[in-house]
Every structure is written in C-alpha cells, then in structure tokens.
Subunit: 165 residues, 2 copies
Amino acid sequence: MISSALRHADPESALAHDDHEALRLWLRLFTTTTMVERVVDSTLKREFGSSLPRFDLLAQLHRAPDGLRMGELSERILVTNGNVTWLVAALEREGFVKRRPDAADRRATVVRLTATGRRHFESMAQAHEALIADLFAGLSPVERRSLHGALGSLKARFRPSEDVR
Amino acid sequence: MISSALRHADPESALAHDDHEALRLWLRLFTTTTMVERVVDSTLKREFGSSLPRFDLLAQLHRAPDGLRMGELSERILVTNGNVTWLVAALEREGFVKRRPDAADRRATVVRLTATGRRHFESMAQAHEALIADLFAGLSPVERRSLHGALGSLKARFRPSEDVR
DNA sequence: TATTGTTATACTCTATAACTATA
DNA sequence: TATAGTTATAGAGTATAACAATA
C-alpha cells in the first residue's frame, strides 16, 4: 500500500520504500522494456514495414525449418490462437509464410517460412541486432551477465519445469 | 498462482544458439516482461476494470500531488500527446482524473487525481504489489539488486539527462 | 514563429466466444 | 467428447497529421 506519509519523502518515487521494492523493480523493468520496444518496433516498421510481434513470429519459424503448428506458435509468442490465426494470415498475404495441413493430424495446420520470408527475416534480424547492440552498449559485461541471470530467474518463476537459457 | 494461459514456451530461445549476446539479452528482457505484463494487465482488468497503461498514468499522477501537464505525462508514460489526450479523457469520464487550464500558461492543461481516483489507484496498487511480490519471490536479494542496477544503466542510455526511477 | 494540447483518422494487436472439422 | 484451428466480433492502445489557442 502506498502511504501518504511517504508520498513526498522520496523524489525518486512515490513507491520508494523497502516494502515496495518488488513493485519498484517491476516498474523499472516495464518502463525500460517499453523504451526499447518503442525504438525497435518503430525501426522495424519504418525500415521493413514490419513490427515486433511479426518479428517474433518469424523468428520462431526461422529456427524451425520443418515449420510449427499454429498451437505451438501461439505458445511461443505468448498470444491466443485467434490472434495467431490473424497474424499468420497477414504474413501469408504478404508472402512471408505458408500454411499447409498437417498430414499426420488433419485438424492441425503447419506454418513455415517461404524463401522470401527467410530473406526478409534475416535482413530484419541483422538490422535489429545492430540496433540492440547499440542500445545495450552502455552495459558492462558484468551488468549484462547479471541482467541475463536475474531475468532467467524471473522467467523460471513462470515456467518452473522448463529449462531457462 | 500463475495462470496456465501464461505458462508458455520460449520465444527468446529462437536465436539462443547464435553468438548474438545483446540480442539474446534483449529477447529475454522482452519475453520476461511480456509474461509479467500479461498477468498484471489481466488482473487489473478483471479486478478493477483497468489496465496497465491506465495504472501507469495514474501512478504518475499519484506521485505528483500538484498534477502534471499533458506533455509531462506524455513523456513519462512514453506515448504521444494524442494518445495521452485520449487516455486522460477516458479516465476523466470515469471520474478518476480532472483537467484544468494552467494559470501560468494558458496553452497548457494540468491533470490531477480526484479523490475517487486516488482511492482507486491505491487499491489497485495494493493488489498489484501483492501480485508482483509473488511473481518476484523467486529472486534473491542479490538478483534483485543486480537487476535493478542493470536496468538503471540501460534506462539511462535512453534518457541520460533524466532521473532514473 | 514556436509550443501545447486537441481532434480526426486509421490501424495493429489483442482477447473471447462460437463454430467446424477431425481425432 | 476433446482438440486444433478459424471466424466473427469487439475493443484498447497507439501513431500521425492537421488544427486551434496561446506564448
């Protein structure tokens, strides 16, 4: 809870108090990530007519040469089935992915990159990586390792049974 | 505690086998933050009819008892002016904030919480904090500190002149 | 002229629920 | 009956650009 007595006490944050440490940490995580997202998303949009959600979907397919089922894609990009159908349909119209029925289970649909989609993704990945390397250039190796490790712990909280790399 | 809808696979690992450390770090940051966002946003929606962007805006006003100008709000919540106008108008209709012209500069508009808005925010903050404390419970004090510090460095990269909260 | 904010517009992303086809 | 995916619908949040009022 946010005590009104603390509201003026700390110029850094209204929530600045030991009891609110986790919430402060989360707000910093949220704001920082949002900053990076805005830059990345607008770059992908401006230079490639794409977006961060599209990049993520294509990245999943890029590492799955045999394609992925819609449901697998849904789990990996953290959105619902209906949303994946919409996103894949858009990318298919743009010529970057292709759907086909799964021979083994005809309820299922397998999505894969087209040759065009692969080239498109790879050029986006290159630009994306250069941008990110620049944005993260201010972090020391120690900071990078600690950030990576701490995020791994947080992530593992959501998916305790899985390997968090 | 963590809804099954959010127990997802791992977009980050799409590029994990490559030697692209900064990009891997960014994807981990993005995925982890997205996981937390989904839980927080759906909780705020379900329990309070609110959302993370609304919470973020109200949090800014909560720590600014004298109110903020639209432009200041825009900078702090990282969205454009037009978007802030839209968000503030919605929150004003809901009775949580109030706009008035700035006496000193009549081009400007100052926004502040209403009494209702303050109570509303504080009860959301309480629930939000409990949820976050739970989600972050797996992090050791050392991990929390290193995460906070590394995020601070990253954030400072964007807005070097500003206070990093 | 420059700045502050609003209006008008359009669009992406997202969720939910009902539905179809297959298992 | 259960599962995989699609369709239909709805809505939030966002950006951009033209505009008005004031500095």
